[in-house]
């Protein structure tokens, strides 16, 4: 279409063509400006994000030596020796039972009965336990508690019921009926990757 042909069109048609051409030019400019703006803004966001990630990585890398040293200290800490070895709850329950019986035997405390408890599963540890019925004097009980506290495998006592005879005197050392739940701890299998043995 030539200019002559356009000029022979009706006035409104010429006006429409001119305005459409203007809109096309504006649109073309926008199509250039928009992606360019998006590119610049996108790069700014990327830069901010990348700088933050880099700073975090550098800080981690810089503190690598101290983290390693703290990790070595943590791995070697005596507290891990206070857990029963392995992750098998049955084996740990047996070990706990024989260990506690040894304590009682050493104090000549008769164990009247014992029953295993259901394992108590925590986030990183499993508590394996037994319920015991004992007959002890107050002195024996005190010694037993002391030995439990100083036992190499840490033991937790809970649900303790101590029953004394109805009539007592200051001169007597009565026999007490004690029922107690004793728990030892092992690591959960999936937690071993973190707290390596």
């Amino acid at each position: 279409m030539t200019v002559g042909q356009i000029e022979s069109l009706a006035s409104w048609q010429r006006r429409a063509i001119a305005l459409a051409a203007l809109a096309a030019v504006v649109l073309a400019l926008l199509l250039l400006v928009w992606p360019a703006t998006a590119m610049v803004l996108g790069h700014e966001a990327w830069r901010e994000d990348a700088a933050e990630t880099l700073a975090r990585h550098r800080a981690l890398a810089d503190s690598s030596a101290s983290i390693k040293s703290e990790l070595a200290t943590a791995e070697a800490h005596a507290v891990w020796g206070s857990l029963f070895p392995g992750t098998d709850t049955a084996a740990a329950a047996n070990a706990l039972q024989s260990e506690f019986r040894s304590l009682c035997d050493a104090l000549k405390v008769p164990v009247q009965g014992s029953a295993p408890l259901d394992p108590e599963v925590g986030e990183r540890l499993i508590g394996v336990g037994i319920r015991l019925d004992l007959q002890v004097t107050i002195d024996q009980l005190q010694s037993l508690l002391e030995r439990v506290q100083s036992n190499p495998h840490r033991l937790a006592l809970d649900n303790v019921t101590i029953t004394a005879p109805r009539y007592q005197s200051a001169e007597q050392n009565p026999t007490l009926q004690v029922q107690v739940e004793v728990r030892g701890f092992i690591r959960k299998p999936e937690a071993r990757t973190g707290a390596a043995s």
């Binding site: 943590a74 809970d158 937690a191």
Partner: protein, 358 residues
């Protein structure tokens, strides 16, 4: 393959030549659309007064765009009619004050037409360029012969300045002083636009604009290239820096995670061991039981202790237990006389342990 620069140049020239009429038409059409919009939306911006000097006064035509609003004739010295005073004014000079020459010029000089005409006035006419004002109108373009028909209008600078002053004295604002050219008088020249004569020489818009446009385009291209280059360099540098620290950071992160696992495991063990502090509770309790009071049952479950026993003064025992740093709330849940004349009570006490400090 070598670039055919001459062919490329010719193609560009042809493209420019074919685009020029389109662009001219488009600009004119948009100008008309703009003027029509102004006429409708802001008519005051399109209102002006045309003054034509006549014998002893002026013929005055008030226009809004092309529409004639009113006509007047005022004598010299007479006050201007209302609506004319203060308006924007276009003065058509008397014919005898304007020298008009029709010229046929090569189309190639159109982009430097003003400069060419200034040179022509200086060279061909007995006029000092600094004493005249000139303007022109392109009347026709012949693509076949590649020529332009141009009307060149020249007026004395001193006379233009006199007219401008007298128009201001009359109370109007001169926006154009010139004349109409062409067969139908469609082209208006304005000597106020460019009063310089010789000053125009060497300062044409085209000579100025081209280097400016070229420089702007070059700078824009350079800016884009610079920005793109900078973005790429930044990404590369960041990737290198990241690669340099990534292995160490990942290893440190894994170690940190393991360390946290150790800490959390130790914390969980501590919480389990502290859950029921049997030894400490029994030791504290035995020190607080008053003489002649006997505990018959001690029960510890979690953070709750229940005691039952016999003694002479249960409330005193409760008061004593409340002094313990291990015990929080101590409640006497029951107290019943052990028998008439015994002076002793069977009591039950419930104790809530204090929360251990973390």
């Amino acid at each position: 393959m070598p670039l055919n620069m001459t062919g490329l140049n010719d193609a560009l020239r042809r493209a420019r030549a074919s685009a020029r009429p389109w662009l001219r038409w488009w600009r004119g059409e948009l100008q008309l659309a703009w003027n029509d919009s102004l006429d409708r939306l802001l008519p005051s911006l399109r209102t002006f007064t045309e003054l034509q000097p006549v014998e002893g006064g002026f013929d005055i035509v008030q226009r809004r765009g092309r529409e004639v609003i009113a006509t007047h004739r005022v004598a010299q010295g007479e006050a201007l009619p209302q609506g004319v005073a203060g308006s924007r004014a276009v003065l058509s000079l008397p014919e005898q004050e304007v020298l008009v020459r029709r010229l046929r010029l090569p189309a190639a000089i159109e982009s430097r037409l003003r400069e060419s005409l200034a040179l022509r006035i200086d060279r061909d006419m007995p006029l000092r360029p600094d004493l005249v004002c000139f303007d022109f109108a392109v009347l026709a373009r012949d693509a076949r012969t590649a020529t332009l028909d141009v009307d060149l209008a020249i007026a004395r600078r001193a006379r233009i300045e006199e007219w401008e002053q007298s128009l201001r004295a009359m109370g109007v604002r001169p926006i154009a002083i010139g004349t109409r050219l062409g067969a139908s008088g469609a082209s208006q020249v304005n000597f106020l636009h460019r009063r310089a004569g010789s000053a125009d020489i060497g300062r044409s818009r085209s000579r100025f604009d081209r280097p400016l446009v070229a420089a702007a385009a070059l700078m824009a291209a350079a800016a884009v290239a610079l920005l793109g280059g900078q973005f790429r360099a930044e990404r590369r540098a960041m990737a290198e820096a990241m690669a340099a620290v990534r292995a160490a950071a990942e290893s440190a992160q894994a170690d940190r995670q393991r360390l946290l696992e150790y800490v959390e495991t130790a914390r969980e063990l501590r919480a389990n061991l502290d859950r029921a502090p049997v030894s400490a509770t029994l030791a504290d309790l035995s020190g607080r039981i008053a003489p002649h009071s006997w505990i018959q049952m001690f029960q510890l479950r979690g953070d709750e202790v229940r005691l039952s026993g016999i003694g002479p003064n249960a409330p005193a025992l409760v008061a004593q237990l409340q002094q313990s740093p291990l015990f929080g709330q101590v409640t006497l849940t029951s107290s019943v006389s052990a028998g008439i004349g015994t002076g002793e009570d069977n009591f039950e006490v419930t104790i809530r342990m204090r929360e251990a400090a973390p």
